[in-house]
Symmetry: C2
Subunit: 370 residues, 2 copies
């Protein structure tokens, strides 16, 4: 993948591949890596999924459908940015693997500034919202762009506090999906003064399963994530876990044990999150942080002459790999060790199984039985 | 020092030595160690302080005055317990060095049960007091005796919550010094159902300088200390620091950054204190804790025949040791290294200087210029 911009045709192919059934970011990265482009990967898809054991063909948007998504985005004044392009946010590109494509509406330049995520409870206390607003304002005054999820409560307060200095809302639905409805005014200001980002197609309404991907982008854009008020087992704690997995600093705002909204943040502190009482706590740590470590992209490239050999190796391996999978996540490296087979063959077998809906390739190199 | 009970005469000598001007617990331990008994140490005092550079004799209570303190305590039904006696609390005996003597009024047997300290702000929130009361009750129900300082706010709530199961109040004044006045009812219940402890003489009113010694006993009696609400630079944080120095577990209850009473506890968390949201947090750690490590008492004993030799060594060393002291604490071990002299001579020189008011021997082996 070159670091320049994609051609119009290859951009369409990226979009079609990214929107193909059973193609998550891991499979996407491996396919484009193996075949050298999304167009070539698309051409190989039917055969790969069939070999993985899938009977009906995978649903892939047509060229026209992809074109219509591009036009819908263009009408909103939104930009589609591919992870291989030079204006993809650097912090987000360092995630393993990054989302293949994001839509961005508003001040796209904010994506290139240092960012801190602020997330928290939807049903937040007045004090919690006041704290989030103040923290966002202080971080903004210190040159940090504040990233959040435009949800009720803490998220909205974080955006409000940082509108004058720079704020990014990451949505689960499309960049035009205004939810909750009472945030229509905030959304307008986000478009006018900030930036709205989404991995989903314009016009798409958010569904429950979109939120983990949304949360992954909130933490992925950010060098640090601050959790302000969170109950146990809440979405904010998922964002915190994703941030930790991505190597980002996790901060939690302490609260009284008598307040159930402090359970989650106090639990994060117990687990080793840094304590945040003010913007200084965050800025102090960020100053000490090394610059972003560029992710060393694994090379999945296979020369055209060797594709047949790889396919043959997968043929004898696929059943063994499938049998090794279980609902408990296992790392790809462990599967390589267990089979004793070359890594490219094991990875290719996993891609076939994932296209067939038999395996799920998780970010961070883990695999489960689907 | 034998582990049995003192004779009546030696008990009087302990009291007189402990109440002598410029004799703190470090000097006390070294003197009784060197001379083998408080009576012999008392006899050596005038010469030692004169050699240290003191002109007027040290003020030491007479035998009659000490006897009157014993009688005052007896009238209250209080007991005087010396650190060398077998019924001195074991946790407190492990402190370096322990207070030479404590007065105890009420159910003295509580001093031999496992204890947890709960301390905090005098001007506490209603929620903080409710939390302290509940925590004390839960710890009590699990067999822990709760130790606190009978101050307003958190201390009082901690005592109230643990009166039915066992509570110890450590006072800065004598065991009959009821302060604040509104705690008269609580004091009566503490005497009837709990225990009141003090290092001060009965009848003595607390002064500001008595509180660090009081705090040292609160943490010294306890395997763990929980701080519930504390502003920055408050007495509760001193207790927490003493507890950490004594090797006791320090817990802090988190609170909102918007509440100034959480500043101190959140800061303790930042410094590595364990987070306390409930009694389970404390009990879990206590279960994992090893039993009290008996303190290995340093031997300061010098055979009578060698006392003269030691005095002569001190004579050539005292000026050098004094010159090495500054307002910044230095360890006794460092002074031994710096002078290259034998440790007993350096320690004896320090005792002379402290009796003369020129050095201050701090718990934990540190020394400052007085």
């Amino acid at each position: 993948m070159s670091k320049s911009a994609l051609s119009d045709l290859e951009r369409l192919a990226w979009l079609r591949l990214a929107r193909t059934e059973n193609v998550g970011p891991v499979t996407f990265e491996q396919l484009v890596g193996r075949y050298g482009s999304a167009s070539k990967a698309l051409a190989a898809l039917p055969e790969l999924s069939r070999r993985g054991g899938r009977i009906s063909p995978l649903s892939t948007p047509s060229q026209d459908e992809a074109q219509r998504e591009l036009e819908a985005g263009a009408r909103l004044g939104a930009r589609l940015i591919a992870s291989c392009e030079s204006d993809f946010p650097r912090q987000l590109a360092a995630v393993d693997p990054p989302p293949p494509l994001i839509w961005a509406r508003g001040h796209v330049s904010l994506l290139h500034k240092p960012c801190v995520g602020i997330v928290g409870a939807r049903i937040a206390s007045a004090g919690g919202q006041r704290f989030a607003r103040g923290l966002a304002g202080q971080l903004g005054a210190s040159g940090q762009v504040v990233v959040s999820g435009m949800a009720r409560g803490i998220d909205s307060a974080a955006h409000e506090g940082s509108l004058p200095t720079g704020t990014i809302a990451v949505l689960g639905g499309g960049v035009d999906d205004i939810y909750p409805p009472e945030n229509a005014g905030l959304y307008d200001r986000l478009i006018a003064e900030g930036c709205v980002v989404s991995e989903s197609a314009p016009g798409k309404r958010a569904q429950a399963r979109d939120f983990p991907r949304r949360n992954r982008i909130i933490s992925g854009l950010s060098a640090a994530v601050v959790v302000v008020e969170a109950e146990l087992r809440s979405g904010s704690l998922i964002t915190a876990r994703l941030a930790a997995e991505q190597g980002r600093e996790v901060f939690a705002v302490p609260g009284s044990p008598l307040d159930p909204r402090a359970r989650g943040t106090n639990d994060l502190l117990r687990q080793g999150a840094a304590l945040c009482e003010s913007a200084e706590d965050v800025l102090r740590v960020l100053q000490q942080q090394r610059s972003i470590r560029e992710r060393e992209r694994p090379s999945y490239a296979v020369p055209p002459a060797d594709q047949g050999k790889l396919d043959a190796a997968v043929e004898t391996l696929r059943g063994e790999v499938e049998a090794l999978l279980s609902p408990t996540p296992v790392s790809r490296d462990e599967l390589v060790r267990a089979t004793g087979a070359p890594a490219p063959a094991v990875f290719a077998a996993l891609v076939e199984l994932s296209l067939a809906g038999k395996a799920e390739l998780l970010p961070g190199g883990m695999v489960t039985r689907a």
